[in-house]
C-alpha cells in the first residue's frame, strides 16, 4: 500500500479503511515503511529538483512491491505520469519509474479493473454524492469504477451532482496561494451537492475532501465528507461525523 502523506498524517482512518477493504478482498497487504511522500507538492510548485529527491525515495521504498495501491487518484497519476518526466535524464531511474508505475493503481481502479470486484460487501445508509477528483478523472480517466462500487453498497443512494466533474478548487499550493478563489470554487461544488440532496459527499482523494470539508465546516453546512474507502470498509455508517474526525 502507498498510503499518501496526507492520509498518513491527517486521515489515518482512510488508510485503515483501505487495509480493511483490501484484506476483505483476500489480499495480503504491506506498508513499506520507507515511504513518505511522492514529491508532487514540490513539483507542482515549481521545485523540480526537490521533487526528484523525494520521488527517488519513493522508488526505493516500493522497489520490491508486486502491486502498489493508493487511496488517491492524484498521487497515483503523479507516480505514473510525472515520474518518467522527472527522471528523463537518468536511464536507470527512468526504467524503474516505468516498471513501478505500471504496477501502481488507484484503489477503486484496482478493485474493479484489476480484481474485477464491484461489490465488496459494504453497507452505508444515506444519500451520497460523488465528486470526481480532477487527476483521477482527467489524468487517469477513472470515472466508472468508483460509481460501480458505490452502486453496490447496501443502503446507499447515489445522487449525481450536476457539477460532479468540476474542480473543487483545492489544487495543492493553489489553495493557499489563492485562498478566496479556491473557496469560491469549493462553494460551487458544495451548492451542487446540496442541489443533489446529498447528505454525504464522497471522493477518491483526501486532499479535495480536506478542502471541501474545511469549507463546509466554515459555512456550518450539514455535509459529511468521506473517502470512498471509508464507505467501502463499511465502518463509517455510525462513526463520527467529519472526514477529519
Amino acid at each position: 500500500m502507498f498510503i499518501t502523506c496526507v492520509v498518513d498524517q491527517f486521515f489515518p482512518q482512510v488508510g485503515i479503511a483501505t487495509v480493511e477493504v483490501l484484506e476483505r478482498c483476500g489480499l495480503e497487504v504491506d506498508f513499506p515503511e520507507g515511504q513518505t511522500c511522492c514529491g508532487q507538492p514540490a513539483f507542482n510548485t515549481g521545485y523540480r529538483e526537490e521533487a526528484r529527491r523525494v520521488a527517488r525515495g519513493w522508488l526505493q521504498a516500493f522497489h520490491d512491491s508486486e502491486a502498489i495501491v493508493a487511496p488517491s487518484g492524484s498521487c497515483v497519476s503523479f507516480v505514473r505520469q510525472q515520474f518518467p518526466e522527472l527522471f528523463h535524464d537518468s536511464p536507470a531511474e527512468l526504467e524503474e519509474a516505468r516498471r513501478l508505475g505500471a504496477r501502481t493503481w488507484e484503489l477503486t481502479e484496482f478493485l474493479v479493473s484489476v480484481l474485477g470486484r464491484e461489490d465488496v460487501g459494504a453497507v452505508y445508509e444515506g444519500a451520497v454524492g460523488y465528486h470526481e477528483s480532477c487527476h483521477l478523472l482527467r489524468e487517469l480517466r477513472i470515472s466508472r469504477q468508483p460509481r460501480a462500487l458505490l452502486k453496490n453498497v447496501r443502503g446507499l443512494e447515489l445522487r449525481e451532482l450536476d457539477l460532479a466533474q468540476e474542480c473543487c478548487g483545492f489544487g495543492g499550493t493553489f489553495s493557499v496561494k489563492f485562498p478566496e478563489l479556491s473557496a469560491a470554487m469549493a462553494d460551487d461544488k458544495l451548492r451542487s451537492a446540496a442541489r443533489a440532496g446529498a447528505e454525504t459527499l464522497v471522493a477518491c482523494d483526501m486532499s479535495c475532501l480536506m478542502h471541501l470539508d474545511g469549507r463546509a465546516r466554515r459555512l456550518n453546512l450539514p455535509l459529511r465528507c468521506l473517502h470512498i474507502a471509508q464507505i467501502l470498509a463499511g465502518t463509517s455508517a455510525g462513526a463520527g461525523g467529519r472526514a477529519g474526525a
Binding site: D8, A42, F43, G46, R56, E166, E180, A183, A184
Partner: protein, 499 residues
C-alpha cells in the same frame, strides 16, 4: 502580500453580476460545444489531425511563411514583417497617413488588441472604430475585452443601455433589438465613410496566399470589402499549409468557440480587387506579426514525443535541430486557434473573468501565453493561478497540453528568481530533505501532534488556508504508527480495528 492581481481577483469574486454573467456564458457555450462535438463522429480524430497539422506547420514555419508571402505578392498584395507591436502599429499608421485615411473600421481581432493598434491610430489622429457589437461596446466604455470570443461578456444589458444613452444619446432602453439597431445605424455610416478596413485572420493559407475570417455579424466582411484599403494583421502562427487543411480547422473552430457548426460568415480572401472585378478593396496589406512568437519557437526545452505527460524533457540549446520524434512543449502555445473554449471550461476564469488577468489574453491560454510573450515580471503568480484540473487540455481543439505547460512555467519562474521567495524555497528544500529520512518524518509527525494547532496556524500557509476554511483535525496517531502497532500486536490484540 497582496498583489494587484490578488486585488483584481478579489474584486471579481465580489461582483455578483460578473459571477452570474460568467456562469451563464460558460453553461451556454459549454453545453453547445459538448453537443456540437458529440454530433461529429470523428471529433477526437479531428483534434488529433489538427494537432498534427499545427505541429508540422510550426516545425516548418519559415517555409510556409515564405510561401505565403510569395503568393500574396503574386496576387498584388503587400507583405510587411513586423518584429514587434511598435513596428506593426507604425506600418498601419504610416500607410493610413500616406493614403490620407481619417477613419478606419476594425473587426474584432485579438492580435490588434495585443499590439494596441487603436491607441496608435488615435495618437496619430486617425479614428478607429470597432465594428463587432461586443467590441464596439467595449470601445465606447474605454475598456479591454474580457473574453477572446465574447469581449463584452462582463457587461450587462443595463450597463450597455447606460453606455448607449451616455455616448450615443439613445433614450434609455434595455430592448436588445433597439440597442443593436442603434449600433448598426451608427456603424453603417462608419463602414461607408472609412478609408481603411483593419482585420485579423483566423488562418492564412500558404499555398494560395489567402486569409480566412470567420464571424457571425458580417462586420468583418464589410470591413474587408467596402473600404479602399484592407489591412490584415496576422500573427505568424496563423499560417496553415493548404486549403485542404482548412477543412479540419473549420470543423473545429466554431464548434469549440460557440457550439455552432460554422460561423455565419466565412470569408476566404485572396488579395485585392483584380482587373475586371466589380468590387473589393483596391489594396491589400498583410502585416505578419512576430512580437515574441519566435522566442517561443526557439524553445530550448524539448521532450520526447509520446510522453504521457509532456513537460520539460531533454534540454537542448536554443537553435539546435530537434532530434527525430521530439516536439517542443512551449512551441505548442503557437498551435492555439483562439477559440476561447479553454476559458469557458476553466473554473478559475469562470470565477475571476478576463479583466483579472494581467494582459489581453485571459484564461488558461492567457496564463501560458502572457509569461512567454511578456516575461514573468508582469505577474509572477500567473502560472500558479490554476488548480491544474486539466479541463482546458481536454477541451482544446488542437490539444495543447496547457497544464503541463503551466507546470513547466512554474519551474522556470521559480528558477528565474533565485533570490525570490526564499522562504518557500528553503521550506521545500527542508521538506525534501526530511522526506528522504523516514525516521525524521516519523519523529517530526509525532512532535507536530504536541504543537497546539493555533500556534501552527498563526502564520504561513496554514494561516492562508484558515482564511476561508477550517483545518482538518490532527489525529492523535498517524497511519504509520497505527500500522507499526498492528504489525507487532501485543498478545490478543485484533488486527484491522480502529486504534
Amino acid at each position: 502580500m497582496k498583489t494587484a492581481f490578488d486585488e483584481r481577483i478579489g474584486t471579481a469574486l465580489a461582483d455578483s453580476r460578473l459571477q452570474a454573467a460568467l456562469e451563464h456564458l460558460a453553461f451556454r457555450f459549454m453545453t453547445a460545444r459538448n453537443q456540437a462535438a458529440a454530433d461529429l463522429p470523428n471529433w477526437e480524430e479531428l483534434r488529433t489531425q489538427a494537432h498534427a497539422i499545427k505541429r508540422h506547420t510550426i516545425e516548418n514555419l519559415s517555409t510556409y511563411l515564405l510561401q505565403l508571402e510569395a503568393r500574396v505578392r503574386e496576387r498584388g498584395g503587400t507583405v510587411f514583417w513586423a518584429e514587434d507591436a511598435a513596428q506593426a502599429c507604425s506600418y498601419v499608421v504610416e500607410l493610413a497617413r500616406a493614403r490620407g485615411v481619417k477613419l478606419a473600421v476594425k473587426s474584432k481581432s485579438m492580435v490588434t488588441e495585443e499590439i494596441e493598434l487603436n491607441h496608435a491610430l488615435e495618437r496619430a489622429g486617425i479614428e478607429a472604430v470597432e465594428t463587432d457589437l461586443g467590441e464596439y461596446i467595449i470601445q465606447l466604455a474605454g475598456e479591454k475585452p474580457s473574453h477572446i470570443v465574447v469581449p463584452a461578456v462582463h457587461k450587462t444589458r443595463g450597463q450597455v443601455a447606460d453606455l448607449f444613452e451616455k455616448k450615443l444619446g439613445l433614450p434609455h432602453t434595455e430592448d436588445v433589438a433597439k440597442l443593436t439597431a442603434t449600433a448598426r445605424a451608427v456603424l453603417r455610416q462608419k463602414f461607408l465613410a472609412a478609408g481603411m478596413g483593419i482585420t485579423g485572420a483566423n488562418f492564412a493559407i500558404a499555398e494560395s496566399g489567402s486569409i480566412v475570417l470567420m464571424e457571425n455579424e458580417g462586420n468583418i466582411r464589410f470591413s474587408s470589402s467596402a473600404p479602399k484599403i484592407h489591412v490584415a494583421v496576422v500573427g505568424i502562427e496563423k499560417v496553415i499549409p493548404r486549403m485542404a487543411d482548412l477543412a479540419v480547422f473549420l470543423r473545429l473552430l466554431a464548434r469549440s468557440a460557440t457550439g455552432q457548426k460554422l460561423g455565419s460568415y466565412v470569408s476566404i480572401l485572396s488579395g485585392a480587387r483584380r482587373p475586371g472585378e466589380p468590387d473589393g478593396p483596391q489594396e491589400f496589406h498583410l502585416v505578419l506579426l512576430d512580437n515574441g512568437r519566435t522566442r517561443m519557437l526557439a524553445d530550448p526545452v524539448a521532450q520526447p514525443e509520446g510522453y504521457a505527460s509532456a513537460a520539460a524533457g531533454t534540454v537542448l540549446s536554443a537553435g539546435t535541430a530537434q532530434p527525430e520524434g521530439y516536439a517542443t512543449l512551449r512551441r505548442e502555445t503557437l498551435y492555439c486557434i483562439r477559440c476561447g473554449a479553454c476559458l469557458n471550461v476553466c473554473p478559475v476564469y469562470r470565477k475571476i473573468g478576463g479583466h483579472a488577468y494581467p494582459w489581453v489574453y485571459s484564461g488558461p491560454i492567457g496564463a501560458i501565453l502572457t509569461p512567454q510573450m511578456l516575461g514573468f515580471a508582469i505577474e509572477p503568480k500567473l502560472p500558479f493561478a490554476s488548480s491544474l484540473c486539466g479541463a482546458c487540455r481536454d477541451v482544446c481543439p488542437v490539444k495543447i497540453p496547457i497544464p503541463e505547460m503551466l507546470l513547466l512555467l512554474r519551474s522556470l519562474e521559480t528558477e528565474s528568481m533565485p533570490g525570490g521567495r526564499w522562504l518557500e524555497r528553503t521550506g521545500f528544500r527542508l521538506w525534501a530533505w526530511a522526506m528522504r529520512q523516514p525516521w525524521l518524518y516519523r519523529l517530526g509527525s509525532r512532535a507536530a501532534r504536541f504543537i497546539p494547532a493555533r500556534l501552527l496556524a498563526a502564520a504561513g500557509p496554514l494561516a492562508c488556508w484558515r482564511k476561508t476554511r477550517e483545518l482538518p483535525v490532527f489525529p492523535e496517531e498517524s497511519f504509520r504508527d497505527w500500522w507499526r502497532k498492528r504489525r507487532a500486536p501485543p498478545a490478543g490484540m485484533a488486527t484491522g480495528r480502529r486504534p
